[in-house]
């Protein structure tokens, strides 16, 4: 395994911990933006309790010369806003961790640089500026650009008035100088190269990428019921509903949400819902409705640990099976599980096109870790996407379920053309009316299920990272993309590659071939059962030799994962 100190030169991991309501979010927000504008690659992710105030939460910020968008266990710099943060993060504090804060208040025996943020803040006008001092300090230690910091603070606090701005600038400066001094004193050993082009990068979270992909995909209707972590998409589309012409409705429950969306889609509006496992369970009958009526529907399912309420603000990948088999009866579906924010944008966009093209429900399967993480990226790929138009103008002979060669019946909507659009949740005739006739039933089942063939041919292939002639293949899906990639990269072995699936169903055509080529296969999943490994086995017959599973509600950490992979690689 690669030398950790060596890594450290290229990137630093900062963790800020404290109670909900203490301002961790603000620190993260400002710091990542200022560092990015200063030319550093940044990555941030958070973990938090299911409560509004108190408790102990933390945010992890990685700053590097290159993109390092993966969760890690190690903490280089820890900024605890209260002593609870030290208890909360105890397991992750090592001898290499530098704790920054008021030593006396923190009462820690670890490596601690005594920086009296509160006292320094008082100078600037009050304790309330302590967080800004900390921001300044971190910028100083990392050699961020002070002018950029100051400008950003002006932008950020602008509407609060000049005095507030001035005090924040002062507090930041105090911190910045202290950070610089510590750096000069040689207490830290980073040397992170700046890349001026990063300044123009985007900072987009997984949740924003899904939301923007939806807007880009022509989403005109979202109806949902709040549920973490799915709510973020509803919130985003609501906030921008006027700008982009979207109906964003909070339904009375998830059942109403999915049925409203199906109704809107029937009437021609590209429609979606967003939810999490428990809410989705309630939508399943509606998904089955979309299935038999062949009404396009995009479902964003943000996973969190179950069963039932489970751990409401944590992460897990345990609802793949749920999405895969949701709804009674049999009908085709597509499931995307993006691994990178860019994928989330492109695949959510694509979800709307595919839903319309094949008239099927399409899932975008994410999780809390993915939605709440973000990193610097040059583009979302929004130039490469365009919206297909699959709605036809009907004439009087129109039949909604006309049997065609490829199983796709031209889709009309009420009020566009002279035809009538009849849609039915029962088995139905070509005209869309209820039937129990055997021949029609068989024809309609064959038509619907037959679409899977075309969908397969229209697959998003898995992404292979590493050498083509791998001996060991580490397989992942969804939010694990970067974590697995970094883990394998840390190992610096030329016989280990990673294969990441962002289309998890149907499995892309070349899946079996790619898996068969490996001598040793390791499937990495954030769940108990190894659901993706089972899916691979059920559909390709391939049994993964090894599975690395984690189901404690936390994402993998790349360096810990690297060790587990190495162990398997060495033994096999």
């Amino acid at each position: 395994m690669a030398d950790r100190m060596d890594e450290r030169v290229r990137d630093v991991t900062i963790v800020v911990g404290g109670e909900a309501g203490q301002g961790i979010q603000t620190i993260e927000f400002i710091l990542t933006r200022v560092l990015k504008r200063s030319g550093y690659h940044v990555f941030a992710t958070k973990e938090y309790m299911s409560r509004i105030r108190g408790g102990s939460n933390s945010t992890l910020i990685r700053v590097g010369s290159q993109r390092v968008p993966a969760n890690v266990d190690r903490i280089d710099l820890l900024v605890p806003l209260d002593s609870g943060a030290l208890t909360h993060l105890a397991g992750r504090i090592s001898k290499d961790t530098l704790i920054i804060g008021e030593k006396k208040a923190l009462k820690t025996e670890h490596n601690c640089v005594d920086i009296p943020f509160a006292a320094m803040a008082e100078e600037a006008g009050g304790k309330i500026y302590a967080n800004t001092v900390a921001i300044g300090f971190l910028c100083g230690i990392l050699e961020a650009d002070l002018a950029i910091l100051e400008n950003y603070l002006k932008e950020y606090f602008g509407r609060k008035g000049k005095e507030i701005v001035a005090r924040n600038v002062q507090a930041a400066g105090t911190g910045y100088r202290a950070g610089g001094e510590m750096r000069s004193a040689g207490r830290v050993a980073f040397s992170i190269d700046r890349d001026p082009s990063v300044a123009g990068n985007l900072l987009v979270s997984g949740a924003e990428a899904v939301s923007l992909g939806a807007i880009s995909g022509g989403c005109r209707f979202i109806s949902s019921y709040p549920m973490s972590p799915g709510t973020a998409i509803l919130t985003y589309l609501s906030r921008h509903s006027e700008k982009f012409g979207i109906v964003a409705e909070q339904a009375e429950d998830e059942i109403a949400a999915v049925n409203m969306a199906v109704g809107a889609s029937y009437a021609g509006a590209r429609a979606m819902v967003t939810t999490s496992g428990g809410g989705f369970a309630l939508m399943e009958e509606g998904v089955s409705l979309a299935g038999i009526t062949e009404t396009p529907l995009v479902i964003h399912l943000g996973q969190r640990p179950g069963p039932a309420t489970g751990m409401a603000t944590r992460t897990e990948q345990a609802d793949l099976d749920l999405a895969l088999y949701a709804g009674h009866g049999e009908f085709p579906r597509i499931i995307y599980a993006p691994g990178r924010t860019e994928d989330a944008f492109v695949l959510t966009h694509r979800a709307f096109n595919m839903a319309d093209r094949y008239q099927v429900p399409v899932f975008v399967l994410t999780d809390q870790y993915f939605l709440d993480s973000y990193y610097s990226t040059s583009s979302l790929g929004d130039d490469a996407v365009f919206n297909e138009d699959h709605v036809i103008e009907t004439d009087e002979s129109y039949m909604r379920y006309r049997l065609t060669e490829d199983g796709i019946s031209p889709r009309g909507v009420p009020g566009f053309g002279t035809g009538l659009v009849a849609v039915d949740s029962h088995e139905h005739t070509e005209e869309g009316h209820i039937t129990e006739e055997i021949g029609v039933r068989n024809a309609m089942m064959d038509k619907r299920m037959g679409k899977i063939r075309a969908i397969l041919a229209d697959s998003v292939p898995p992404v292979l990272t590493g050498p083509e002639d791998y001996r060991v293949l580490v397989v992942g899906w969804g939010s694990n993309f970067h974590i697995i990639a970094e883990a394998v990269q840390l190992l610096r072995k030329d016989d280990i590659s990673c294969l990441h699936f962002s289309q998890v169903f149907p499995l892309p055509p070349d899946t079996a071939e790619l898996l068969d080529r490996a001598e040793v296969t390791v499937v990495v999943e954030n769940n108990f059962g190894g659901q993706f490994a089972r899916l691979l086995r059920a559909h390709t017959g391939f049994e993964a030799g090894h599975r690395i599973l984690q189901y404690d509600g936390r994402p993998f950490c790349s360096e810990l994962l690297a060790r587990k992979i190495l162990k398997i690689a060495r033994r096999n």
Binding site: R220, F221, S223, K243, D253, G263, A264, A269, G415, H433
Partner: protein, 286 residues
């Protein structure tokens, strides 16, 4: 317009002979044709049940959805295309049982849809179990000791939740039903029409005669704008008023409150993504 415009021609109707749904279907066709609505501008959404088969017997756009879910589905249709006249049709089980939560919240939301409830006070399609409107004591295959739960009073509930159009009709009164349905469709906002409909097969209590004996027409003395007055009429379970109990026009509809329609009434399926605007927006994430 001839009500034949709404005939689907030579189709089989699968209701029992003598079912109250037949005259109801005729009243509905009459109401739609009478308003001069082209079948191409009418979308009839339904749930599942005997009543919910209705759209299959009408020549217009239709969506026969899930049991209990016609109202949210219709809400979505209307929100996506304001030009359509949207009706949500179902039985008492459909609308007040499985769909009870949507009933409450659709009223609050006030979409411009017409909700017709074929109230036969029983579950017809599933063979005679009690519905939320079944009378106390009615014996059924499941309620073997008689219905023990208080029947719901949908009209009174609708009024207290803030519905702006609440009416009751009776399939035995074809003309009245036609005109009530027409008023309901004309009303801007959610309109509830609870239609007493005898089920000749499973409801031996609330028969045609039972309804005939208990119903009466509201006359001029009734002021449909007086909420407490309407509530009083609705609360009367002995004598069942037919007509518009409550109507208070002018409240903004759900669609009125949607910013998408602030600048244009264009149906959503006609709209295209403004890529320049999106590009600009994404640019703000730098």
């Amino acid at each position: 317009m001839d009500k034949k415009t709404y005939d689907r021609g030579d189709i089989e109707i699968t209701w029992c002979p003598g079912c109250g749904n037949y005259p109801l279907l005729e009243s509905l066709k009459g109401a739609l044709a009478g308003l001069g609505l082209d079948p191409g501008e009418v979308v009839v959404v339904s749930g599942i049940g005997q009543a919910a088969k209705t759209p299959h017997y009408l020549r217009c756009h239709m969506f026969n959805g899930l049991h209990g879910r016609a109202v949210p589905l219709a809400t979505g249709v209307k929100a996506a295309n304001r030009h359509m006249t949207v009706l949500a049709i179902g039985g008492d089980g459909d609308m007040y049982g499985e769909g009870g939560n949507h009933f409450l919240h659709a009223i609050r939301r006030n979409p411009d849809i017409t909700n017709l409830v074929h109230n036969n006070m029983v579950y017809g399609l599933t063979k005679g179990q009690a519905s939320p409107t079944s009378p106390l004591g009615m014996v059924t295959p499941v309620q073997v000791h008689g219905v023990a739960a208080e029947p719901i009073n949908p009209l009174a509930v609708a009024i207290t939740v803030g519905a702006t159009f609440v009416a009751r009709a009776f399939t035995g009164d074809g003309e009245g039903t036609v005109s009530i349905i027409q008023e309901a469709i004309k009303h801007r906002g959610y309109a509830l029409v609870d239609i007493l409909q005898p089920c000749v097969t499973y409801n031996r209590v609330n028969t045609f005669q039972w309804f005939s004996e208990r119903t009466y027409h509201l006359d001029e003395s009734h002021d449909p704008r007086d909420m407490m007055g309407a509530l009083k009429v609705a609360m009367d379970r002995e004598r069942l008023a037919l007509g518009i109990l409550y109507a208070s026009p002018g409240k903004p509809t759900f669609e009125d409150t949607l910013p998408v329609y602030a600048r244009s009434p264009e149906p959503l399926h006609r709209r295209r993504v403004d890529r320049a605007l999106l590009g600009e927006h994404i640019g703000e994430k730098i």
